[in-house]
Subunit: 493 residues, 2 copies
């Protein structure tokens, strides 16, 4: 089918991808190897490429091509139709925000981030407050431009989880909330101490073990590598270039090991996306909730299990001799420790979603105008008490802990829990569809699971909207019950 | 002084620099850390940015701005006048070559490079010959577009050594040629064996030693780093980002040690260039002959000396215990070994320039039409016999050894020798101008020498043409006598 507008859009997408993937290398280097004095000029390079990429896809001609491709009428289920749908969505969202608002937002973000750094260090919320107020005012202006049907929060979710609405999340999250409080009460009673697995684990041994496990999961090192950064991440720098980073603690091997499994999950998704055509939406990942499902699935459902340690115990002891003090069951108990704590990024499997639900509720109230920034610390602390039965000692370990809001990012947090829910639902479906999956995983045969994920999730890129993809893979939209059942069996029996 | 065209040119130069420095990071990563499967897409990213940078500075509006800046009439010695001169020079050279010829040349280069790889492996010149003929035909077409006054070779030199002419090089090189043959005869008699310093030198020890020496020379690691590559190089990725690469041989510490000193010399030059305004010619290095003078000066005049080893012996033995078998004088003798050999990149200080002179004479004959490609191997071998009194065993170790011609690069090779000549002349001038320079260097006080180079060479960027810069620093244009005298004293007494 020959539609010139479609062809032009494909070429432009490839061009935008060349620019964005180059910017991703600038960022990767900024986090890994850049000399300290070089950071300021790097910011200039990044801002230049960011502006170029934005301009390339917001020119009026792009709108004409999209109209032409829409009028051409590709069959509803075709890849082409999906690409046109996604081009329309992202183009409209981008051009609806005038440059003056984009610039105001960028400036406010930079100031808010600086203020947040200082405020968190001093545990001084009033210092951050005026910046957060400014950010929220500007976010509301963006929402006014974008428009919404039910909740203004929906306009924000659209950036991270296309098609989902707050009204769909609420009942699922409410069900989860009640179940988690119950599971937590049973799980945290039978715990081991935080220091249970502490020992001396040389970094070179941790590196070799992580590498062997990532490879066993199916990560292709010919198209990737693992480096060290303060904040671990996965980034894609081209169709055959998915890089992982991790961080090491010589006393605690879990940090790098489970961090690497997590990022490996993200990388396996990206390595399984369509390689051609480069840069079009259907060759891209579909949403954060699906992306996070892949990382959580490999990290927790595959890696944070008793059977994993029965399989990997000997290898792990070989690389990290201090581990020989523990039986496989000890190791499993250690990495499955459950204990309520103040900081989200240090949370265990059971309490993690409680941290997220708290943020979701607060963001919703802030954006819907039911909560004022000045009342935020109090709202945070009282919700925290309710969910965790803990009194937040200071704002540093409370409302000021996350970077997201200072970056102007709202609507992102629920995707963490969506990822957890999707992971449980996907592995449940895989268990019914892949013969002998449990036995395969117990023997370290990870290929059948990866193959299933490739077929049901990875290869589709952005062809279907996330909830449509979940239906096709599992027969249902995202549900709470699979995760609840998984956590109940693992932690509350 | 307010000239709008000049302001526009400065902004455009900054923009081009943002793109080019980003491309340099893509290249640096390609040589250091890129996963193997990612190289193909990387080539696409590089080609995209290269095309963008070229287009940014060859638009007709740029020509108008240059005209406007010329008409404005900046004072002759001003930085502004120098920038306008350089913008004019590079703009005219770029726009004189039509895009069709650029594309033909690019295609021919890619094919020629592939053919050269195969031809060299098989030592099969006829396989390379038609490609080289094609390259030379296209190079001549470029020369016709550029124009020249004396020799067509001058039009090629202009890319690497602005303002120099073959007629200026010839007498200097002839003097050098005669002297070198004489010095070689005396030097190679008193040599040590090639394996004299062989031992076991762990890479971590080599790294630590190289790092300490680079730092002592004045290399700022807050604006740089050292990584490992097959072919060592120095690259600048921003005003405060000068990165070095090197390679290690566990049997021979000299490879990485002197390689690092060499690249450190290049990096010290770039770290001493004006930081602002970013991207304009006067903030850039002036020529390859000056650049190479800085690398050779630190590598050979500072590092490849007896006094260097008296100073560094203890430290070096600390990092590389196997070195304790040698006295400082032994080490100096080892790194000052002179022996004619077939391969330029492995050559010692005395024979290195003979390799270069051979290439210069052959390139001149090829470009001036006095030598045909089909007669090239014979010409190479007979000149080699004349200069080195050695019979070239095969073309792999003869005419096929260098990559340059397959890349379409002619006029580059003489800058290696210019660098050597400039290095000797600069250090000679420094000795007369810096109090007690020899004693300072002997005690490891490298700051006075670096300060002198900063003042006389680095800080001027491209303000003066290379030969003008040499005159201001040393009172003369590039001469042969300083290098001849240096080599005679070091190797033939």
């Amino acid at each position: 089918m020959n539609c010139p507008g479609y062809k032009k859009l494909s070429e432009r997408s490839r061009e935008v991808h060349l620019v964005r993937s180059t910017a991703s290398l600038l960022e990767w280097d900024l986090e890994t190897y850049i000399p300290p004095n070089a950071a300021a000029f790097r910011a200039e390079q990044l801002s230049y490429l960011g502006t170029k990429a934005h301009a390339l896809f917001t020119k009026p001609i792009v709108g004409h091509w999209i109209k032409e491709a829409e009028d051409f009428g590709f069959p509803a289920e075709s890849l082409e139709a999906a690409n046109v749908r996604e081009w329309r969505r992202t183009y409209d969202r981008a051009v609806k925000i005038p440059n003056s608002l984009v610039e105001k937002f960028e400036k406010a973000r930079i100031l808010a981030y600086d203020a947040w750094i200082g405020a968190r260090a001093e545990s001084n919320f009033p210092k951050f407050r005026p910046h957060l107020e400014k950010i929220i005012t500007l976010v509301r202006k963006k929402i006014d431009r974008w428009g919404f049907e039910e909740s203004p929060y929906d306009a924000l979710l659209e950036d991270y989880e296309p098609g989902i609405r707050a009204s769909q999340l609420k009942p699922v999250f409410a069900e989860l909330r009640d179940a988690l409080k119950d599971i937590l009460a049973k799980a945290s009673a039978s715990g081991v101490s935080e220091e249970f697995l502490d020992g001396h684990y040389p970094i070179s041994g941790q590196q070799a073990l992580s590498k062997e496990i990532a490879e066993a999961f199916g990560y292709d090192f010919r198209s990737g590598r693992i480096d060290t950064t303060t904040h671990p991440f996965m980034t894609t720098l081209g169709p055959y270039d998915q890089r992982i980073t991790t961080r090491y603690n010589e006393k605690r091997f879990e940090m790098s090991l489970y961090g690497t499994m997590h990022e490996t999950g993200h990388a396996l998704y990206e390595q399984g996306l369509p390689k051609e055509p480069v840069g079009v939406p259907t060759s891209d990942s579909v949403s954060l909730g699906i992306h996070e499902s892949q990382s959580r699935l490999w990290e927790n459902h595959v890696g944070r299990t008793t059977q994993f340690w029965h399989l990997w115990h000997a290898t792990a002891c070989n690389y990290l001799p201090d581990l020989a003090r523990y039986s496989p069951d000890d190791l499993a108990r250690g990495v499955q420790r459950v204990a309520p704590s103040f900081i989200r990024v240090e949370a265990d499997e059971v309490t993690y979603d409680l941290h997220v639900l708290l943020r979701f509720e607060i963001e919703l109230e802030l954006i819907e105008g039911r909560l004022k920034v000045k009342d935020l610390p109090e709202a945070w602390n009282s919700k925290f008490k309710e969910l965790f039965d803990l009194k937040v000692p200071d704002d540093r370990r409370g409302v000021l802990q996350d970077v997201h809001w200072s970056h102007g990012t709202f609507g992102y947090s629920p995707t963490y829990t969506l990822g957890n829910l999707n992971a449980a639902q996907l592995i449940n479906a895989a268990e019914t569809q892949v013969p002998d999956l449990g036995a395969q995983l117990a023997r370290g045969r990870y290929q059948p699971l990866l193959q299933w994920l490739r077929e049901k999730v990875h290869q589709h890129g952005r062809h279907y909207l996330p909830q449509d993809l979940m239906c096709r893979a599992t027969g249902e939209t995202t549900q709470g019950k699979y995760r609840i059942e998984y956590l109940r069996q693992k932690y509350a029996t």
